[in-house]
């Protein structure tokens, strides 16, 4: 059997590598963001904000590459599904980068040595680790075309959602001290941003299942409490 569209398929593979490489950028950015959060490192937070341009640049490159492939190669069948999925994936990557920026922007607002709560911090860190793992798994599932691994993201995401709810409840019960309440409110926003990154990872999993099966379905109903 002769491969008749070798250059196109090579270009498509290159585009996929470029897009999934964006998830590596996101993982590195999550690491820096969590590090900055842990140590209240404003300089590192600034770097996270500045480096978001790299993720945005990756988005523009992949987006342009997808438009070019659609215009010149008219992909069909699985190729078409991959191209369509990559368009979603790179959008989610761009949003994940923005959520890290949202967290980084909160770090200077919460002050140099804010009053913290050990239990709440522990949950934020656990949540960060889960999100990091989830993003890595989303990449692996897409690259391997593994619908089962993609579906498993829902399990991880449920853990993240549960932590988010716990953090919300703990923040409400943080006490009457104004500084602590302010800090806890920022942590609620951090948790919310991490939770959104998790949702983006699940969305990438849904795109993986679409590529594999040809049918798009949401893994979980967003209108349900979960």
């Amino acid at each position: 059997m002769t491969e008749t569209r070798a250059r196109f398929h090579e270009a498509l593979r290159g585009l996929e590598d470029q897009a999934l490489g964006g998830l590596d950028l996101v993982v590195a950015t999550i690491d820096r963001t969590l590090e900055a959060l842990k140590h209240q490192d404003v300089e590192l937070a600034s770097m996270v904000i500045a480096d978001d341009d790299r993720i945005d640049g990756r988005y523009l490159e992949v987006h342009q590459g997808i438009l070019s492939l659609l215009a010149t190669e008219a992909p069909v069948a699985t190729d078409l599904r991959v191209v369509a999925a990559l368009l979603h994936v790179i959008g989610h990557i761009e949003r994940m980068g923005d959520q890290c920026v949202n967290i980084a922007k909160l770090i200077p607002l919460s002050g140099h040595e804010p009053p913290t709560d050990e239990q709440l911090i522990e949950r934020i860190e656990r949540m960060g680790a889960c999100v990091r793992s989830e993003v890595g798994q989303a990449k692996q599932a897409f690259a391997l075309r593994d619908a089962g691994l993609a579906q498993d993201l829902v399990r991880q995401d449920a853990e993240i959602n549960a932590l988010n709810r716990e953090i919300f409840a703990m923040a409400l019960e943080i006490g009457d001290d104004a500084d602590r309440r302010e800090w806890a409110a920022y942590m609620m926003l951090v948790a919310r941003a991490l939770e959104r990154i998790g949702d983006n990872a699940v969305d990438i999993g849904e795109q993986t299942a679409f590529v594999v099966t040809g049918l798009f379905r949401e893994f979980s109903d967003a209108s349900r409490v979960g």
Partner: protein
């Protein structure tokens, strides 16, 4: 094609099965264009059904037991690599295949209820009901634009004003009238390639067929002429059953309601065009449409 013309009695298949069974021996079907012609929306195409159709060149099978249905007023695209049997299959529908020495077909080709391979069927009338447009535009070289279109109706007895009206209606139906109305007496070969192909489509429409077979109708045309033919196909399907053989998969995607993929003489897959090009069910279809072989 008059219902009372003895030549057409076996070939204008009745819409009423009882008539098809031979109760009257005459067709009750209304040919297209009787009341205003091939260019009005009154007429509809007819259903073509292939039932275990095989076609041979000598001992070699080019089409193997294909069963497939072409619904009226739909465009069906046939795709597949060179030599897969798609043109041969289509030529069996209007019994053109048997014109090749040692070529023969087995199985059934039904035009509604009439098996066109039944004994006693008038082959000429079958070909009139099932018109064909070929890859290369082939206007009659010595004839004017008018005569190219008029030649078929003349054989059915059309003359004078009736003939002129019919030629005009047909050329309008083929989307060519405005471009040629002031030079009807000039040779058909003087037209551009795209215009020649539309002239050939007009020539096919002029004998008021029910089904139009198109074998690579745009492969010799430039992109603009190709798009004009594709627009025309979309209009013609309102009145005819259309089968298009094409190597151009984007064309199949643009014009066809359903697409059939053939390989080595066999029908691999047939389904809605959208599905064939986004989520084909057979890995061989996937490999072909995405260019993994060809």
């Amino acid at each position: 094609m008059s219902p009372h013309d003895p030549e057409t009695q076996m070939t204008d298949p009745p819409t009423d099965p009882a008539t098809a069974a031979g109760e009257t021996g005459q067709s009750t079907a209304q040919p297209p264009g009787r009341d205003g012609a091939a260019t009005t929306a009154a007429a509809t195409g007819r259903r073509i059904t292939l039932d275990s159709l095989s076609a041979f060149y000598g001992d070699s099978a080019a089409v193997r037991a294909v069963s497939l249905e072409f619904p009226p007023n739909e465009v069906t695209a046939i795709i597949g690599p060179s030599g897969c049997g798609k043109s041969t299959m289509v030529r069996c529908i209007n019994r053109m295949h048997e014109e090749i020495p040692r070529a023969r077909a087995e199985g059934k080709v039904l035009l509604d209820d009439l098996d066109v391979y039944e004994d006693g069927v008038d082959v000429v009338a079958v070909r009139r009901a099932v018109g064909m447009v070929f890859q290369k535009p082939n206007p009659f070289p010595t004839m004017s634009i008018f005569d190219n279109v008029a030649s078929g109706p003349r054989l059915s007895g059309a003359r004078g004003g009736d003939l002129r009206d019919r030629v005009e209606r047909t050329l309008r139906g083929a989307g060519l009238w405005e471009e040629v109305k002031d030079r009807m007496d000039q040779p058909g070969l003087g037209l551009s390639g795209g215009q020649q192909q539309r002239l050939c489509i007009a020539r096919t429409l002029a004998v008021e067929p029910k089904v139009i077979l198109m074998d690579e109708p745009c492969s010799a045309l430039d992109p603009v002429a190709t798009l004009k033919i594709e627009e025309l196909i979309a209009e013609l399907k309102q009145r005819y059953t259309i089968v298009v053989v094409t190597h151009n998969m984007q064309q199949a995607g643009r014009v066809a309601d359903t697409t059939a993929f053939m390989l080595d003489g066999e029908l691999v897959e047939h389904g809605a065009t959208d599905r064939i090009f986004t989520n084909p069910g057979d890995s061989r279809t996937e490999d072909y449409v995405s260019g993994k072989f060809g």
